[in-house]
């Protein structure tokens, strides 16, 4: 299951900060646990999150092993023009989860 969920305001005002909430499904295996066979379960976490507006990075985060499964991230940003908001989560195996949303800016 690879699901991503993003909530942003229907419209935002030009130059005014607004909040974006994101949620993604991922086990976020820490690499510290042992499986039933006694062997360490290899680390498998999302290590990078990037948000881009029309190709330009507006927010990014490096994630660490102590972050829970299905990580929730929220952040504030500003926009001067509307367009395509792209979200990308990249894990240790290089697998990507992606989400795209349309941002409307007025004023």
């Amino acid at each position: 299951m690879a699901e991503a969920r993003v909530k942003l305001p229907d419209k935002v005002k030009k130059g005014e900060p607004f909040e974006i909430k994101t949620l993604v499904s991922h086990p976020m295996e820490t690499g510290q646990r042992k499986g039933a066979d006694g062997k360490i379960v290899p680390r498998m976490i999302i290590n990078k999150f990037v948000a881009r507006l029309n190709g330009e990075e507006v927010f990014s985060a490096d994630l660490a092993p102590a972050i829970s499964a299905n990580p929730y991230l929220s952040f504030f940003t500003v926009a001067n023009a509307g367009g395509k908001l792209e979200f990308e989560w990249i894990d240790d195996q290089g697998q990507k989860s992606a989400y795209t949303a349309e941002l409307k800016v007025e004023g």
Binding site: M1, E3, K7, P27, A69, N70, Y72
Partner: protein, 267 residues
């Protein structure tokens, strides 16, 4: 002379602020209290409550979203999806979950929502049943249950179901395992007390499937019942056993009137 009045003023402010906070809390709690029944939400930490309050913070909605996709995905030999027969889940599944577990005349058996979904897959879609606790079954259960959110739990307990309810009640008060504990020993006799880092609740089942922070995943009521029986150091019944179905029915009946809360968030 002035200082005491300042202190008094500050105290008044603090008390008023505290009271306002407590009132806001109790208003939020109110929908999870019906008479002398209340759900685990009322015990939950404010941070856990706020996760459940926002559908974009509650990780359970990742499963709901998956369930929504599965709803219209055709599967099985009949080439049908849920939507082909049931249309929009928002209409056809509205308040349905609040009536489960429910007696199925056709098979002469009690069924919970998970079993009903798989029954429908087998009969109408000619598809393989989903495994217990599989992401797909959890997702569909969460999606179906969400359509009943806020509806009072209202299971039928008369007719052919009656002996099952009585058996469920018997199991609730029956001591299990090496620790010799019944469900009631924790969830009635010690309801509200602190245990293993959380409050023992009233064992209300209206919030399932629940996103459990400990498991870091959505869990079914069956999973929780197995966990509870195991905690008494008894051998747990298997998933979907008659015993757990009867117990599910009794739990739903005990919580009659509480709103369906799925997908809830618990520690």
């Amino acid at each position: 002379m002035r200082r005491p009045s300042h202190i008094a003023f500050a105290l008044t402010l603090a008390v008023a602020g505290g009271a306002a906070f407590a009132q806001a809390q109790s208003e939020k709690d109110a929908k999870y209290r019906v008479g002398d029944k209340y759900t685990g939400y009322t015990y939950a930490d404010p941070t856990t409550q706020s996760m459940q309050d926002d559908d974009y913070v509650n990780p359970g909605f990742l499963w709901v979203q998956e369930g929504e996709k599965l709803w219209s995905a055709a599967e099985g030999a009949a080439g049908k999806s849920c939507a082909d027969c049931h249309g929009k889940a928002q209409e056809s599944m509205k308040a349905v979950g609040a009536l489960y577990p429910k007696w199925q005349e056709k098979i002469g058996k009690l069924e919970n929502v998970e079993q009903r979904i798989n029954q429908c897959r087998a009969d109408n879609m000619k598809a393989e049943p989903w495994k217990w606790e599989s992401p797909a079954l959890l997702a569909m259960t969460a999606y179906v249950q969400l359509q009943s959110r806020g509806q009072p739990v209202d299971v039928a307990v008369e007719g052919p179901v009656k002996p099952h309810l009585q058996n469920g009640e018997r199991l609730f008060y029956m001591r299990h395992g090496q620790l010799d504990l019944s469900c009631a020993n924790c969830h009635e006799d010690n309801d509200g007390k602190w245990m293993r880092g959380d409050h023992l609740g009233q064992a209300m089942a209206n919030g399932f499937p629940t996103y459990r922070l400990k498991e870091q995943t959505l869990i079914s009521l069956q999973f929780r019942l197995i966990g509870c029986v195991r905690d008494t150091r008894a051998e747990a019944y298997p998933y979907g056993s008659d015993e757990y179905l009867d117990l599910e029915l009794y739990l739903a009946h005990r919580g009659k009137g509480l709103p369906v809360e799925a997908p809830s968030v618990r520690r």
